[in-house]
C-alpha cells in the first residue's frame, strides 16, 4: 500500500511535461519594452517570471534599452501573455498595467516607475 502510494506520488511528480525546453522550430522573438526597468534590482523579478512562463524558451535582459528580448514558442504563448505575466508580478510593460500589490515587492528603485508616477530618468 505504502509502496504503491509512493510510486504514484513520484510518478505524478516526475511525469510533468519536460520543462527544459529546447529551441524548437516554431519559435519567435519579441522585444518587450519595460519603461520601469530602472535598475538591476528588477532583473530577478523579470527572470523569475519568465522562468516559470509556459512557452518561453530564452530571454536576454537589456537594462540600457529598458527591455527584455524573449524567444518563445508560437504554439504555446504570445507576447501579450508574456506581458500579462510580467504585469502580474509588478512589472509595467508597454501595454500592461502592473498588479499594485506585486509592486510593493519590487525594489524601491523600480516602484515609482512601475506605478507610472515617474520615469526612470527623473529618479
Amino acid at each position: 500500500m505504502k509502496k504503491l502510494l509512493v510510486i504514484t506520488l513520484l510518478s505524478i511528480l516526475f511525469a510533468t511535461p519536460a520543462f527544459a525546453q529546447k529551441k524548437a522550430k516554431n519559435t519567435k522573438t519579441t522585444e518587450i519594452s519595460i519603461p520601469g526597468y530602472c535598475c538591476k534590482g528588477l532583473n530577478a523579478t523579470i527572470e523569475n517570471t519568465l522562468a516559470y512562463e509556459r512557452g518561453v524558451v530564452e530571454w536576454t535582459l537589456n537594462l540600457e534599452k529598458k527591455s527584455v528580448t524573449v524567444v518563445y514558442r508560437e504554439d504555446k504563448t504570445n507576447p501579450s501573455k508574456i506581458e500579462k505575466a510580467l504585469a502580474a508580478n509588478g512589472v509595467r510593460t508597454a501595454n500592461e498595467k502592473p498588479n499594485p500589490r506585486a509592486i510593493e515587492k519590487l525594489p524601491a528603485c523600480c516602484q515609482p516607475a512601475a506605478r507610472g508616477e515617474k520615469s526612470c530618468d527623473k529618479m
Binding site: M1, K2, L5, V6, L9, L10, I12, L13, T16, F19, C39, K40, G41, N43, A44, T45, E47, N48, A51, Y52, E53, R54, A88, N89, N99, R101, A102, K105, P107, A108, C109, Q111
Partner: protein, 749 residues
Amino acid sequence: MLLQRRSLLQLFRLLLFCVLLFSTVGLAAQEVRGVVLDDASGTPLPGAHIQWQGTLKGTTSDNEGRFSLLVTDGLRPLLVGMTSYVTDTVMPQEGVPLEVRLKTSSKKLRSVAVRQRRKNTVTRMSSIAQTEVITVEGLKGLACCNLGESFENSATVDVGYSDAVSGSKQIQLLGLTGVYSQMLLENTPFLRGLSAPFGLGYVPGQWMESISVSKGVATVKNGYDAITGTINLEYEKPAKGDRFSLNLYENSDLKSEVTAKLNHRFNNRLSTGLLFFGTYNARRADHIGHDGFADYPLQQQFNVVNRWDYEAPSGFHSQTLVNYIHEERLGGDMRFERSLRGSDSIYGFGGTTDRLHFFTKNGFMLSNTASFGSQVSGTWFRQSAYYGLSDYRGEEKDLYVNLLVNAEVSGGHMVDYGLSLRYEEIDESLRSQPYLSAAAVTFDDQLSMREVVPGAFGQYTFRYGDDFNATAGLRYDYNSHYRRHLLTPRLHFRWRIAGRWVLRGSGGMGYRAPHVIAENFGLLASGRDLVINTPLQMEEAWNAGVNLTRKIQLGDDRELTFSIDYFHTDFLNQTVIDWDQDAYTAYIYNLDGRSYSNVIQADLNVEPFVGFSVSLAGKINDVRCDYNGTMLRKPYTSYWKGLLVLSYHTRFEKWRFDFTTQLNGPQRLPLNKGTLQGEAPAYLYMLGQVTRKFKRFEVYAGVENITGYVQETPVIGYDAPFSQAFDASVVYAPLMGRLFYAGLRFNIR
C-alpha cells in the same frame, strides 16, 4: 589667495565630513548614509532598496553599495532589502554611517550584524546573542506540520516525545527540557505555564515567517525566565504576505492537514490577516511494538488567528493578534473509545484543550532618538486529560503588561528601561491512580497557584564602533506566590576580534515557577506512584556561554561559516524528578546537591557550489544531577549528536532537494521495568524531501524516518496496563516508522 581659501574650505569640509563619519557624539545630520553589503561575502550590493519604514520614500544603493537618504520625518527604522536577500530593518543613528549586511534568503542563517535596536516595532530582530534563524525557505524543505517538527535541521534544538501514548513532543535546548528556555511570539511571551507541554503542536509550520533560536540567557526585557535560550517565532505579516495561500498535506498514515492564509490591505496603513489550520487524523495504527497500543493518538485540531496591523507614517505602529485553538486527542489501546473513559480493562488516553491567546503591541517614537513600546498579552487555557485511571484538569489565566522605553544616549550607546506586571492564575487538579490496586491520591494544593509579579528593568548598551558592543541589564521582580524578591542580572557582549572572527558571550541568572505535572505528562503514563513530599520552590539557575564564529569567503558569493560554542548551566534549585530510586515510584523534590549542564557545539556551513549547501554540526551534552545523593546523567538526553543537512536547488528553484541525517548518541535510561536498562543505543534518523515549483503552485513529497528505526517496545507492560508493571513513559527512540507524505502549496499574490 582665493585658491588657498577655497582649498582651506575644502579641507574644512573634509574634516567636517570625517567628524560626521567617525564622531561618537551625535551630531545633527540631515541625511543618513551607509553601505549595503552581502553578509556572507562582505561585498557591496548595488541596487538594494532602502526605504523609511511606513513611507514610500526611499532610494537605492549605487554600484559600490552606498546610499544616502534625506531625513524628512525624523529618524525612523529603515527597511533594507533586495531580491533573494532577507529584508532587514535597521535603526539609523544620527551621524553614524550605517553598515547593513543582508543575508541571502537561503535556508539557515546566522545573524551577525548587531546594528539595530530591539524594539517591538521592528519586525525582524537580530541580536547580540548568537542567533540561528530558520527562515520560511528552510521550513519549506521540511514536512514541518508544526513547530515540533521545525527543528529537524537544527543541531541546537532536540525534539523528543514526552510519552508513548499522548503523541506530544518536547524540545530540549542545551540538554535541558524546553521549559527552561523562553518561547516568544513576535517578542511577546508565548506558550508559558500549562501551555508549554503540548504547545509545540499549537504552532503550524506554515504560519511562520521565521524562527530565531538564541542560546543562553536572554536580555532582561522579557522577564526572568529565559535560562537556556530564547525561541522567537514570527508569523506572517498581513502587509507583506500573499493575498491567499493554501497548503494541503497528507501522509501515508492518512493524517491530513490544511493551512490557509488570507491577507488584506485596506490602505498603506491598515492590514489584516486570517490564518487557519486544521489537522485530522482519523485512523490509529499499531505498526511498532505490535502491543495493541496505537503508535500515535487520534487527533483533531482547529486553530485560527486573526491579526491587525496599523502603521502610521508618524512612526506609530500597532499590532494585535488573537488566536484560538481547540484540540482533541484520543490514544492508548487500539480498542479504546471516548465512551470508555475511566475503564479499568481497556487503557485509554484522552485530552481536550481550548486555548485563547492574544497580544497587542503598540509603539511610537518619543523623539528622534527615543521610542516607547507597550506589550499586552493574555491567555486563557483549559485542558482536561486522562491517562488510564488518572485524571488531570488544568486551567490557566494570565495577563502580562510590559512597557518599554528605548533611548539613545551619546555615541550610539543605548538605554532601555521599563516596567512589567504579570498576573497568573493556575488551577490544576490531579487525581492520580497509577494502577488499579493503588489508592487514588489527589494533588490540588501543591499545583494550584496565583501569582502577581510586578517588575522593573533597565539595561545599557555600550558600543565601540562596529567592533565591540555589550549590553548589561538588571531586573527586579517580586513574585507574590513564592513571596520572593528576584534580582536578575544579565550580560551580553559581541566582539569582532579581527577580520571575520567574532566572539560572543553571555551570562546571567534566571528563575521559573515549576508546573511539574503539566511539564512531565510522562509521569501519568506509567504505573509509578507519584510522591511529592515537599512544597516545590522556584527553579533558579545561572547560565554562561561563549561562541566563536569565523567566516571564510569562497569565490564570489559563497562562503564558509564555522562556529563553536560552549554553554554552562548551573542550578541553585531545580524540581528534580527522580525515577531512579526504584522502578515503581517517581519522587519529586527540590534539588539537594548539584545539577548542571555543559554543552559544546560546533557548526560548519558551506556552499560548495551555487545552489548546493551543506551544513554539518556536532554536539556534546554533559547533563548531570544529584538524585538522592547520587550524581547521574539526566535521563533521555543524548550524550552527543551529529547532524548533516544537504540542500540543493536548481536555477530559479524549480527543483529543490533536501536531505537530513541525524545521528543521535546514546542516552541514559532511568531505572525501569523493561528489558532495556542502563543506556539506550545511538541511532540514525534520516529524512528527505523533493519540491517542484510551478508558476502558481508547488508540490512536495518526502519521507520521514527513512531508516525506519523505532523503539521496539514503546509500552512496557502493555499486557497489564492497570498494574504496576505498566510504563509508557520510557521513550528514547522514534515512535513513528518510515512515513511518506506529499503536499501542495498554492498562492495568489
